[in-house]
């Protein structure tokens, strides 16, 4: 009954005229011809399966590669970078012998189709990247974007996504310490589910994805392989290649966080005993990816016997096994004499582990099935020599009109009452409202090292109990800004994440990103992408924070309508002693509130323009990265030297949003005075970058002022922590109760 004859390498060489379904597998004609050229013959079905998945946009970055190179070319000199772009995740030195690895990834499309499982397996995937570097995962973050808050489909997608992220992350024992929730009609049908993870290790524990040392064994461990996510390969599995019946294989995977938890513990135990030479997680493209990457990054070749792969479904064809995206699997390279011990540890944790192959001293990746050789390739050609596209890009013709539609000219509130109403409307708007209903579905406390979690400006984790060493992370992105100007928008995302980290007292060290865009085949989208990458690379160079890795998600669009260009940036920082961290909440009545930075009339892309006028136009706020750096230094010094007791960065919603949040969190009000030279409206709603509000104990005021003065950072005393409400002198007062109701009732009312 099996297909005869098996499509071996030999058979392929002897039957050059057999037509393969390369187009159905997503390859272009020239790509297929390139495969034939590389092999010097037609590929076998199994080889075609491997090339097609590895050369897909998702795995090969073929549209984005030419731009992403800038992250390397423009990388700032940084002593902190231990492992850069190209590995599963970047690694940074955080001192005292510790290294930290972190990365953000997308799971957008699956989360739309099956919100719970799509989001859950997104968390699972990013966590395996972290383990694969040798680190213990210590926290996750989840930047999310959904369609309009009141759209019925948002009510289907959001609760499922949140439950999935929580369901998986909570079950793994990873505290969720930050993220974003943004609503915008542009994400309708294309929600963005990005997930990030951080891991901690000692320097000497860093592991890389490479197979070296002839004779070393390749061990596949974790879940059995099933027919998950292999739509295309089923065509190859069918009786004849042209009998392309509809796939019965699911496009969505179901995650098993329990299995992943066992995988973490057993991998870490194997690391502790120094049993692992190289390691790779199985994510997109499954075994095709793991074997070709391990082999091409190492010194030798590799042979794999596919018959030895433990299966969940015995009917799977070899092509399907190679393409399967079954979750919770890892691949380790282990010296022969250590194999027994490795298998023992797996057994201890009830994890299935099987030797499936061996490192050779050749340079080929050879895969066998039922005794026949079905793959014989140079692994580099699969893993690294995918096509590279110079896709055409062009500034869209509507960009000028969009920028000319100046938000600064929108009608402003005419009276104090109107101003007050707009403040209430702002803090109650879905994007500015409290996300507690969502974030309380995540465990913040597990592992016992969470110093800061949402709704703080950055999440912070203690790394060393003795010294108090800690790391902080913040993720930010603003698709509205990026739509108005993708170059500036990307830099604003970077600036905001950088500022968020510094606001909590940590020193920003490095960057990861997740670039969410529409179709690269649209020159306008490609221009947005190119501009955003250029902006981010330039910005990272200027701030001295290298990009250590990230992820690109394209084709986020429905028909002609692309999402707003949405570069999400994660900044990682370090703090020498977490006892010095600065929280958002006002701590003590009587403390002086200072506004740091310059406030200009900048309303393009602002929350105010969206909430009050449903408007998007003009230019986003100006970026001044030198100012961001200076602001960061002041915030870090002030925290270290105990000059401030709370701090909050200013971003969407402007000053009033920040002050309301600090007041509500601390349960203490604020009395504010509009500073000279500003009108109340601009003071409250402007979104000028490079700003923060801090609360200074009276005893520290002179010292703090001197420091800001000496370094040339504008610091304006704008009020005092006091009372039961937020008062803008001469304008209005809103009680904390009123503000709390407005801020906290919106999201539950929409979703609960």
């Amino acid at each position: 009954m099996s297909r005869t004859p098996l499509d071996t390498v030999e058979h392929a060489a002897a039957t050059p005229d057999v037509e393969l379904p390369w187009a159905e597998l997503g390859l272009k004609k020239d790509e297929y011809e390139r495969v034939v050229e590389i092999l010097g013959r037609r590929p076998t079905g199994a080889e075609l399966a491997m090339y097609s998945v590895m050369w897909s946009e998702h795995c090969s970055y073929k549209s984005s590669k030419v731009h992403l190179r800038q992250f390397g070319e423009k990388a700032p000199q940084s002593d902190a970078l231990l492992v850069g772009i190209g590995e599963n995740a970047g690694v940074v030195d955080v001192g005292q012998g510790y290294a930290v690895t972190f990365k953000v990834e997308s799971h957008n499309h699956p989360s739309y189709v099956e919100p719970y499982q799509g989001a859950a397996t997104g968390v699972g995937g990013i966590v395996r990247d972290i383990i694969a570097m040798g680190a213990r995962p210590v926290a996750v973050v989840d930047p999310l974007r959904f369609g309009a808050a009141d759209h019925p489909d948002t009510k289907r997608v959001l609760p499922g996504v949140v439950a999935g992220i929580g369901g998986y992350g909570n079950c793994l024992g990873l505290p969720n310490i930050g993220g974003e929730v943004v609503f915008d009609a542009c994400y309708q049908g294309n929600p963005l589910v990005n997930a990030g993870a951080i891991g901690v290790m000692r320097h000497e524990d860093i592991h890389l994805a490479k197979a070296s040392g002839a004779g070393n064994k390749v061990i596949l461990y974790g879940a059995r392989t099933g027919g998950d996510g292999i739509g295309g390969a089923s065509i190859l599995a069918s009786e004849t290649f042209d009998d392309a019946k509809p796939s019965k294989r699911p496009a969505v995977q179901v995650g098993d966080p329990f299995q992943e938890k066992l995988l973490i513990e057993c991998t870490l135990e194997a690391f502790r005993e120094k049993l692992v030479v190289g390691i790779q997680d199985l994510g997109a493209a499954g075994l095709s990816c793991a074997t070709s990457e391990l082999a091409s990054n190492g010194s030798g070749g590799m042979t794999v016997t596919l018959d030895d792969v433990p299966l969940r479904d015995s009917t799977l064809s070899p092509e399907e096994i190679l393409m399967s995206e079954s979750q919770e699997r890892m691949c380790a390279v282990v010296e022969p004499e250590k194999v027994d011990r490795f298998l023992e540890i797996c057994e201890k944790w009830d994890v299935i582990a099987t030797v499936i192959g061996e490192v050779t001293d050749g340079d080929r990746l050879e895969i066998f099935w039922h005794g026949g050789k079905i793959v014989d390739v140079d692994p580099r050609t699969v893993a690294h020599d995918g096509p590279v596209y110079e896709r055409p890009y062009a500034r869209p013709d509507w960009q000028d009109a969009l920028q000319a539609d100046d938000a600064n000219k929108l009608p402003r509130p005419a009276t104090s009452d109107e101003l007050k109403d707009q403040v209430l409307k702002l803090v109650a708007s879905p994007n500015q409202a409290s996300k507690k209903w969502i974030t309380q579905q995540y465990d913040h406390f597990v592992q016992g090292n969470t110093v800061l979690a949402q709704p703080e400006d950055s999440g912070m984790i203690r790394v060393d109990e003795e010294s108090g060493l800690g790391v902080a992370i913040a993720t930010d992105g603003n698709g509205r800004y990026a739509k108005l100007d993708p170059y500036t928008g990307a830099q604003l995302a970077l600036a905001e994440a950088y500022r968020n980290v510094a606001t909590t007292g940590a020193r920003p060290l490095a960057v990861s990103d997740c670039l969410n865009f529409g179709s690269p085949e649209d020159p306008a989208v490609m221009w947005q992408f190119a501009e955003a990458v250029r902006g981010l690379a330039d910005g990272c160079l200027q701030l001295g924070t290298p990009v250590t890795g990230g992820n690109v998600s394209l084709y986020n669009q429905t028909g002609e309508a692309a999402i707003h260009p949405t570069p999400v940036v994660a900044v990682l920082g370090v703090i020498d002693d977490v006892a010095r961290r600065t929280p958002v909440a006002f701590q003590e009545e009587g403390q002086l509130i200072y506004l740091l930075g310059d406030t200009r009339e900048e309303f393009g892309g602002s929350a105010w323009s969206q909430v009050v006028h449903d408007h998007l136009g003009g230019l986003p706020p100006k970026v001044d990265l030198e100012r961001e750096r200076l602001l960061g230094e002041i915030l870090i010094s002030a925290s270290r030297d105990g000059m401030i007791d709370s701090a909050h960065d200013l971003s969407d919603g402007g000053l009033v949003q920040a002050v309301v949040e600090s007041a509500l969190l601390g349960g203490k009000g604020a009395r504010l005075v509009v500073p000279d030279g500003l009108d109340a409206f601009t003071f409250l709603f402007s979104e000028s970058a490079g700003r923060a509000v801090v609360a200074v104990p009276r005893s520290e005021e002179v010292r703090f002022n001197d420091m800001c003065g000496a370094r040339g950072l504008p610091a304006t005393r704008i009020g005092v922590v006091d009372g039961e409400g937020v008062e803008i002198q001469g304008e209005f007062t809103l009680s904390l109760a009123e503000l709390r109701k407005a801020h906290e009732e919106t999201v539950p009312a929409l979703l609960a």
Binding site: V113, E114, G226, D228, R249, V252, V254, G255, F258, Q327
Partner: protein, 90 residues
């Protein structure tokens, strides 16, 4: 009043971690001879009025659009006989 039962199970090709966990525990509990366990959901709907073709068709729609996600799950709809109900209540 009648009871309609909707059973929702993960498709056979989809991983069922719950069922697997149950199955793996069986030997420890001294149960042998069970080669596979799948765990799904059972919904019992109490329907006012007669359960005619039309009503069943509507419940079928409900199952398809809401009770199950047909990307990963299969479902069946059936009317529970009064006898069965009595039996189950025992």
């Amino acid at each position: 009043m009648a009871r309609v039962v909707v059973d929702v199970m993960l498709k056979p090709e989809i991983l069922d971690p719950q069922g697997q966990a149950v199955q793996r525990a069986l030997p420890r509990l001294g149960f042998e001879g069970i080669s596979d366990v799948r765990q799904g959901k059972r919904f019992e709907l109490e329907v006012d009025g007669p359960v005619d073709e039309a009503a069943l068709a509507r419940i079928h729609d409900l199952a398809e659009s809401f009770l199950a996600n047909t990307v990963i799950e299969d479902f069946t709809v059936r009317v529970e006989e009064a006898a069965e109900v009595a039996e189950a209540a025992k």
